[in-house]
């Protein structure tokens, strides 16, 4: 095959894509934005030596808060997408709980234009499920879809009324939009951390696990009844994971959990630091292990980061006053590789399935190195040990729960549509023409 002028060959990478059945040292040729060829001794007009690096399908994150519009001091589409690229993500879904809420077609089309100009990765828009995320009136989902919305969500707040949720799911099904649901019952979630030993000892108001479990059960029952394509995001309890398992073949349902719920627990509450406030809250060991096992078994389909930047003045506060949320993009792979893969809890192929293949299938784009798929991929040095440092964060914010921790495995390059959008070391990835 004659190389096209714009092609790029990534040479000698350790290629791993469980979805496409690839595992071995190979070359990957990218042309015209697609995976053109995977094999040995491929040549191209540009070549990139990836000897010693792992090459994965680009990671896909269906849950990110890029704070645009409204809090561009915390994150912009430019900075959020750069942060995503630095974490190896090539596809992202932006959540609608911004200021203003993404609940009208004009806001969606404005965001779509901004993404076109600023985003380094493939960014999709989740519009709000109800107007103002108030849980009352449904949004104009069909017009939102025409304006460029990919799905609808109640993220950040949930939907208090099961009746509204049921109508919303039914209408979303008619509109051909999947839903991403934040399951939280506010009559139960009255605290700021998990209602467990750490909260009891520290005297911090707790929200019980039932706040999530009750709402998850409601959402799953309604998903089964309405037939809506439903994704339950940030599952953080063992019971919610078990509920998802029960409904797996009874509803069109998928679910994710986050890197922090897979790796951290509520013992961090004893620090009393506002940094560690997040929603759903960090849970005890049994829940962390339960969601980990559910991810391993495929009950939880994939990982999503819930990347939630906050300005320092919103985090350097007592836990009860701090804003909930953690940065996620830049540490996701390293944290999971360190805490799950190297600890022997899940295999590297399962992690790649959970970060690339499965969320890519959910998005309908990306997450695969099969020929003809978008040329979205991630290059990782699995042996590099690095310490998470607020000074080197690409995000505009620095509220990572892993600050100060040393992790193993680092994203060194990210390619979207055949173009290098993140190149951590420059020299190492310098392409030879």
């Amino acid at each position: 095959m004659i190389p096209t002028p714009t092609d790029l060959v990534v040479r000698n990478a350790r290629v791993l894509d469980p979805g496409a059945g690839l595992d071995g040292v190979m070359d990957v040729r990218l042309a015209e934005g697609e995976i053109a060829e995977v094999g040995e001794n491929l040549r191209g007009t540009r070549e990139l030596d990836a000897d010693g690096l792992h090459l994965f399908p680009g990671f896909v994150d269906v849950h990110a808060h890029w704070r645009t519009p409204g809090r561009e001091d915390e994150e912009t589409i430019e900075s959020g997408s750069a942060s995503a690229a630095a974490g190896g993500f090539t596809g992202v879904v932006m959540m609608p709980n911004t200021d203003p809420i993404v609940d009208s077609p004009v806001i969606v089309s404005g965001l779509a234009r901004k993404i076109e100009r600023e985003s380094r990765v493939r960014a999709r828009i989740s519009a709000a499920l109800h107007v103002g995320l108030k849980g009352e009136r449904l949004t104009e989902m069909r017009l939102l879809k025409e304006a460029g919305a990919f799905c609808v969500s109640d993220d950040g707040l949930g939907t208090a009324s099961a009746g509204v949720l049921r109508n919303g799911m039914t209408y979303a099904r008619s509109a051909g939009l999947p839903l991403i649901l934040h399951c939280e019952d506010h009559t139960l979630a009255t605290g700021v951390v998990h209602d467990g030993v750490a909260a009891s000892l520290a005297g911090i108001p707790g929200s019980p696990a039932s706040a999530e479990d009750v709402a998850t059960a409601t959402a799953l029952i309604l998903a089964a009844e309405t037939g809506a394509r439903t994704h339950i995001t940030h599952v953080s309890t063992a019971l919610s994971a078990a509920l998802v398992a029960f409904f797996k073949d009874r509803a069109d349902v998928t679910a994710d959990t986050t890197p922090h719920h897979l790796t951290l627990t509520d013992d961090l509450i004893s620090t009393l630091e506002g940094l560690y406030r997040v929603n759903p809250p960090l849970r005890p060991d049994a829940d962390r292990d339960g969601v980990g096992e559910a991810l391993r078994a495929g009950v939880l389909d994939f990982v999503a980061t819930d990347h939630a930047p906050h300005a320092s003045e919103e985090k350097e506060l007592p836990l009860e006053e701090a804003a909930p949320g953690f940065l996620g993009h830049e540490t996701a792979f390293a944290a999971l590789h360190t805490e799950l893969v190297l600890a022997g809890k899940i295999t590297l192929p399962r992690l790649i399935e959970a970060m690339s293949c499965a969320p890519g299938r959910w998005m309908g784009e990306g997450g695969s190195l099969a020929v003809g798929e978008p040329a979205d991929l991630t290059l990782v040095d699995l042996s590099e040990r690095w310490t998470v440092d607020s000074g080197t964060m690409i995000s505009r914010s620095s509220n990572s729960p892993y600050l100060g921790r040393t992790l193993t495995g680092r994203v060194v390059g990210t390619i979207v549509g055949g173009e290098l959008v993140h190149d951590r070391t420059g020299a190492q990835l310098g392409t030879r023409g």
């Binding site: 107007v131 009352e136 009136r137 449904l138 949004t139 104009e140 989902m141 069909r142 017009l143 009746g163 509204v164 109508n167 039914t170 209408y171 099904r173 008619s174 509109a175 051909g176 309405t226």
Partner: protein, 305 residues
């Protein structure tokens, strides 16, 4: 000659439909007269109505009947008398037919079990509205050149099927006339098991037109259902489920049981367009209801049983 109630059209045969429409035409042409002379027709309206009540009353009077009219204002109904007690009272007064409108589905059938007189269902809750479906068939047959011309025609029934007694009578009536029906509605305005009808569900009027719909039968959207719970906004509803002028280019006809929310179910200036059968539907009310009352009281020879 036996009497018969009109509770629904589910058990009405194709021949019977044709017979009623033929009789309606005879009434319209004035070739039958005084079929109800000496009879008493009672109108019991437990729910407000304008066109249906007026057209039944006119129909009864034109056929020579005496008419007793009870409505929810200023009658025993407004004093809280129960449906059954009202029906029993009308029966005792010697009613020859009871025309009933009630807000609850199944009321007409309940009433019919408490009177020897035939009951004509003038709309019960979200249940049935058989005379509406008959007058729709009448208006449409006339526009298309006869009852047999309905066979094989494609009709889209558009909008709030869930809360519509009209849809529940029109669907079996149009089916018996041989029409090919599709439903156009968001799932929030369809009964959960709408699939039981075995009809395709389409996402927009545009799609119905693309698939060859020749008749666009729009249903009324109640004001309280226009924003929020089941549909997001009038704007989005009108965009996908409203009939607009562009839909008429290929010669499609527009129908609506009334009253129309202009700009919602049908674009404002389309309501009285030449392609609109809305005025024809209203005009069909009196002859069709005359025929129904005549058949109900046994005053007309019936072809089919």
């Amino acid at each position: 000659m036996g009497i018969r109630s009109f509770l629904s059209l589910e058990h009405t045969s194709r021949n019977e439909l044709r017979e009623i429409l033929d009789l309606a035409r005879a009434h319209e042409e004035g070739s039958v007269e005084g079929t109800l002379t000496g009879k008493t027709v009672c109108l019991a309206f437990f729910e407000s109505s304008t066109r249906t009540a007026v057209s039944f009353e006119l129909a009864a009077r034109r056929c020579g009947a005496d008419v007793i009219s009870l409505s929810d204002k200023g009658s025993a109904i407004s004093k809280g008398e129960s449906l059954v007690d009202t029906v029993v009272t009308l029966d005792s007064l010697g009613a020859d037919a009871i025309v009933l409108r009630h807000p609850a589905a199944g009321s007409a059938s309940l009433a019919s079990r408490h009177t020897a007189a035939p009951v004509v269902n003038a709309g019960d809750g979200c249940g049935q509205h058989p005379t509406q479906a008959l007058l729709d068939l009448y208006a449409l047959s006339k526009a298309l050149g006869g009852f047999d011309e309905l066979s094989g025609r494609r009709v889209a029934i558009i909008g709030d099927v869930l809360h519509s007694r009209v849809a529940r009578s029109v669907i079996p009536a149009f089916t018996k006339a041989g029409m090919e029906i599709s439903l156009v509605a968001p799932r929030t305005l369809l009964p959960r098991d709408a699939g039981a009808w075995g009809l395709p569900v389409l996402p927009s009027v545009d799609e119905a037109i693309d698939r060859g719909a020749e008749v666009l039968y729009t249903l009324r959207l109640q004001r309280e259902r226009m924003t929020g719970a089941r549909i997001p906004s009038v704007g989005e509803y009108a965009r996908f489920y409203g009939v607009a002028r562009r839909h008429l280019r290929g010669g499609a006809l527009v129908m609506h049981p009334g009253p129309v929310n202009r700009g919602v179910e049908i674009e404002g200036d389309v309501v009285l367009d030449a392609a609109s059968l809305v005025p024809n539907q209203v005009a069909a009310g009196v002859p069709v209801r005359s025929a129904v009352l005549t058949v109900a009281t046994g005053a007309a020879q019936r072809v089919a049983a």
